[in-house]
């Protein structure tokens, strides 16, 4: 599921169907839908473009990427044909009509939907998560070895590599806040890192480390996601392998991080306010 703009969003399913919706005052309206070719498989990921065009990028189970161009007349085209398979994540550019993917060959690729490959950048390890800063200048790539790579969106040049987590703790989920002032990072061992960001995505300061111990090990990168909100702060969602979904609301206030915890799905109404702070004095500057 991905937000497109305002109250419009898109959702995808196992059957390769992507649907476009709007929701106004609690009323959902199904606006349009597409069916991917049977060779594409299930819809693994949909990401609404943040650049100039209203479009949705779709990563399918069989490593195919599609572009759903929404303005009339709507059209669906397959992009990124003929490249090595094994895409691990996809993120659209925040300012331009292009998108980034990480691959199992330890690379990051930038594509333009019409012009194709724009650059390729090699990583030291497997890239598992990706997020584009609101300035459009840099992308953050989380790796299987616990490292955070900061790359230039212009040419893929390596700006810096930050050792965020232990070498056996993969960074499976990344998300810059809308303002670009924070970067949330989730790891496979259930740790959450929150890094204040400065200088249009060029400066990072590791201020707070929140250990979410009760989550346990996360085996699938699709099990964890972040949503940022100006009012609520950071919303963390965990989809566990044991079908016991949890969610956390992290309220960001100056100097500390607190979170409100809920329990399982059937316990939505149960909120426990807890505060866990674990300072980490290490500071990184680029």
């Amino acid at each position: 599921m991905t937000h497109i703009e305002g109250t419009t969003f898109a959702s995808g399913d196992f059957e390769g169907v992507v649907k476009l919706w709007t929701v106004e005052s609690g009323n959902f309206e199904h606006k349009d839908s597409i069916q991917l070719p049977s060779s594409a498989g299930a819809v693994l990921l949909v990401d609404g473009a943040r650049g100039q065009s209203e479009e949705v990028y779709i990563l399918s189970g069989y490593d195919q990427i599609f572009r759903w161009f929404l303005p009339n007349p709507p059209s669906v085209t397959q992009v990124v044909e003929g490249f090595p398979k094994g895409f691990t994540s996809l993120m659209t550019h925040t300012m331009e009509d292009s998108f980034f993917v990480t691959t199992k060959e330890n690379t990051v690729l930038r594509f333009h939907p019409l012009n194709g490959l724009e650059w390729r950048s090699d990583l030291m390890s497997l890239g598992m998560s990706i997020s584009c800063h609101s300035s459009g200048k840099v992308i953050a790539v989380g790796c299987s070895t616990g490292d955070l790579n900061i790359l230039s969106t212009m040419d893929g040049a390596h700006i810096s590599m930050l050792p965020v987590a232990d070498s056996d703790d993969a960074l499976i989920c990344l998300s810059y806040s809308a303002s670009g002032e924070n970067l949330a990072i989730g790891t496979a061992s259930g740790c959450l890192y929150l890094l204040p960001v400065s200088d249009d995505g060029l400066g990072y300061h590791k201020l707070n480390l929140l250990k979410v111990c009760y989550i346990g090990r996360i085996y699938s990168h699709s099990s964890l996601s972040f949503s940022w909100n100006n009012f609520l702060g950071l919303f963390l969602f965990l989809r566990s392998n044991t079908f016991l979904p949890y969610f956390l609301v992290l309220c960001l206030t100056p100097g500390h991080l607190s979170h409100t915890q809920s329990s399982m799905v059937n316990g939505w109404q149960l909120y426990l306010n807890k505060r866990r702070e674990q300072r980490d004095s290490r500071t990184y500057s680029l």
Binding site: T7, S11, D13, V23, W268
Partner: protein, 56 residues
């Protein structure tokens, strides 16, 4: 109020422009979570569930 079954999994969540959180689950339901700040200062959510799309 309808709530998702514990056997269902929930897809990624998104915030809409009015600060309402939207989640979707594998059972085909969309849930809107409207944030409300309680008198004690604790954050709570008003929920509304709709049949929508069986997402992954």
């Amino acid at each position: 109020m309808k709530t998702p079954s514990p056997k269902m999994t929930i897809s990624r969540t998104i915030f809409l422009s009015d600060d309402t959180l939207l989640s979707a689950d594998s059972g085909g339901f969309f849930t809107l979570w409207a944030p409300v700040m309680g008198e004690d200062g604790h954050l709570e959510f008003m929920q509304s569930v709709f049949r929508g799309h069986k997402v992954i």
